[in-house]
Each structure stands twice: as structure tokens, then as C-alpha cells.
């Protein structure tokens, strides 16, 4: 035997309506109806308790009514809403990481320099940093390998990157101590903030220093790597 109270009637109806967004509206409407019926019954001389029982009984089976109502209050809209919130949140996080914080992607990507399998004979330790506008470029060092390759490590950082948008491919020209342009076979790897330039077959016995001209939209930054400052690696 169901409880013949208005409260339990409304709860039973809503228990069948899967979309919670419709509960308030449904409850208010049914509540108003029962209330009005109760007032009328009380005017006819019923006690409030009798009136409530009678009014609720007159409504019918709350489970059946709830099931019927559920058919017309499908949560499609709320699913779409939830889905789009998910998409929005993921997009915002993605944009925050990739645009506002491009160097932050290093958190997720292992450094290239650690991934390359190479036998280093000697290294040059340096830390040179230059800035044009909001672009900071660092020369962090170099490794010379058994194969005769010189790996030169760079880092770039855009301060306030949202003003400049995306990253760029750095342009370098390399000169030796006499101002002769060094043109050897090479390659480069880069992630969003880290670049490695590899010079293959470089004559490290005649080249004493390398001067790198970093072209930031025709305003140059100059870095000098002294090849005589070697630190031997066992």
C-alpha cells in the first residue's frame, strides 16, 4: 500500500523521470494541482489529513504517471550539454597548455637530447642567453661524438607566447673564427622549446670557434661556441 502523502507521491513520480532537469518543473505542477484539490476538499469539510489522502488518491498511480512523463522528458538535451561541456573543458586545457605554455609540453615529452643514442667524446658547457622582444634564445652546450658529429643544443622560449602565437623554425648561419661560413652536412631536431643542430663531418681540429647568427626577423642574435673549451667525457 503506497503512502498517500503528497510528498511521497511527488517523489515516486520523479523517481521514474531519468532526466533530473525536469524534476522541479514536474513537481511544481503536480504539487499545485494536489494543493488546489486539497483546498477544495477542505472547503467541503474534510480535515487536512483526509483532504491530502483523497487528493493524492485522485491523482492515480505515481509510478505509472512518472513512467509516462519520462517518455516526454528524455535527457537528450542534457547529454548534449554534458558532452559539450566536456569538449569545452578539454579544449580549454589543451589550449592553455599548448598556446599559453608551449614550453610546458616538455613536461610530457622526453628531451630529445636524452633520446639520441650517441657516444660522446667531449662536451662544451656553456649557457648563453639572449633576448629580442619576447623571444629568449639559449645556447646550452654541445657534444662531440665518436662518429664525428657535433650536437649543438638550443632552447627557445617565447615570453607571453599568446601575443606571438605559434612557434617558428629558427634560422641560423654559422661562421668560424675567420668569418668563413661553415657549411657542412647536418640535420636538426626540435620540439616546441628545444632544438638540436647536428653538424656532420665538422673539422674540429681547424675550427677553433663557431659563431651562430640567429635571425629573428632580421634582427640578429649572436652566439659564440669556443671549441677549445672541451670537457672530455669518459
Amino acid at each position: 500500500m503506497p503512502l498517500l502523502s503528497k510528498r511521497s507521491f511527488l517523489l515516486d513520480v520523479c523517481s521514474q523521470v531519468s532526466w533530473k532537469g525536469a524534476h522541479k518543473e514536474i513537481c511544481e505542477e503536480l504539487d499545485a494541482h494536489i494543493q488546489e484539490r486539497m483546498e477544495r476538499l477542505e472547503r467541503l469539510g474534510r480535515t487536512p489529513e483526509e483532504a491530502e489522502k483523497e487528493a493524492v488518491t485522485a491523482m492515480g498511480d505515481p509510478i505509472q504517471i512518472g513512467k509516462e512523463l519520462n517518455r516526454y522528458h528524455k535527457p537528450y538535451l542534457s547529454w548534449i550539454l554534458n558532452l559539450s561541456w566536456g569538449v569545452i573543458i578539454v579544449s580549454v586545457i589543451y589550449l592553455a597548455v599548448s598556446v599559453l605554455w608551449p614550453w610546458g609540453s616538455n613536461l610530457f615529452v622526453q628531451k630529445y637530447s636524452d633520446q639520441i643514442d650517441k657516444k660522446v667524446l667531449w662536451s662544451i658547457d656553456t649557457d648563453q642567453k639572449q633576448q629580442i622582444d619576447n623571444r629568449v634564445v639559449r645556447l646550452t652546450g654541445a657534444d662531440f661524438t665518436e662518429e664525428g658529429d657535433l650536437y649543438v643544443y638550443w632552447e627557445t622560449e617565447l615570453l607571453e607566447p599568446y601575443r606571438n602565437g605559434w612557434s617558428f623554425s629558427p634560422l641560423y648561419n654559422t661562421f668560424d673564427q675567420d668569418g668563413e661560413k661553415i657549411e657542412v652536412e647536418g640535420s636538426s631536431f626540435s620540439s616546441s622549446s628545444e632544438q638540436i643542430r647536428v653538424y656532420r663531418g665538422l673539422d674540429v681540429e681547424t675550427i677553433k670557434s663557431m659563431t651562430f647568427i640567429y635571425d629573428a626577423y632580421h634582427r640578429n642574435m649572436e652566439f659564440v661556441l669556443d671549441l677549445t673549451q672541451r670537457r672530455e667525457v669518459q
Binding site: E28, L30, H33, R37, G60, D61, Y72
Partner: protein, 113 residues
């Protein structure tokens, strides 16, 4: 499918006809149905609401809220153009059906027609 079901129901037809001469809220419709049908239709009052909500979903009826004199919020229902069209069609169908039944059972008016 669902739509057809709700619109083909005779109770839905009664509800639409109640709204034909003015916007009403649920309780008011129940009271009027009792009076108009001379207490023949003892509809369980709560079952009116699934019908109304179904009609809203089908676009036959629209709802809006309005406060009563006593300040209570009431949800009124208003029949739409589509609802009126559906009601006309249903009336015609009903008329044909009842004419046919009357012919069979020998209703006086139809014997002359």
C-alpha cells in the same frame, strides 16, 4: 510512433478540445472535464499531465507560467495552430466513426439521413 500514439488517443482529443476556447491550467481542465462530461470521465487526475507534456512535445500545445490572484504560479497550456488542425481532423474521424456506429445500431437521426 510516440507522437502518433499520443495524438491518436481519445483523451488527447478531449484535452485539446478543452483548450480550444481558452488557455487553462491542469486543475482547471480536470474540473471542466468533470462538468462537461457530466462525470462520465473519471480520469485519474495525474494522468492528465503526461498527456499534456506529450502534446507539448508534439507541438500541439504550448505552456507558460502565470501567477494566480493568490500569487501561486500556474502552468497554463495554450493550443497551437497545429493543435487546432489535429483537433479538426480528429473531430472528423470521430464523426465518421460515430455515424458508422449509429447506422449499425440504428440511431434515429441517421436513419433519416
Amino acid at each position: 510512433m510516440k507522437n502518433d500514439k499520443i495524438l491518436s488517443g481519445s483523451t488527447a482529443m478531449l484535452v485539446l478540445s478543452l483548450l480550444e476556447n481558452g488557455d487553462k491550467y491542469g486543475y482547471q481542465m480536470i474540473s471542466e472535464l468533470e462538468i462537461r462530461s457530466d462525470h462520465t470521465f473519471t480520469l485519474k487526475e495525474g494522468t492528465l499531465y503526461p498527456i499534456l507534456h506529450g502534446l507539448v512535445k508534439d507541438g500541439a500545445v504550448e505552456s507558460y507560467e502565470k501567477a494566480s490572484e493568490s500569487g501561486r504560479m500556474r502552468k497554463y497550456y495554450h493550443i497551437t495552430r497545429k493543435g487546432l488542425k489535429v483537433l479538426d481532423e480528429k473531430r472528423e474521424e470521430w464523426q465518421e466513426f460515430s455515424d458508422a456506429v449509429n447506422k449499425v445500431i440504428g440511431g434515429a437521426a441517421h436513419a433519416l439521413a
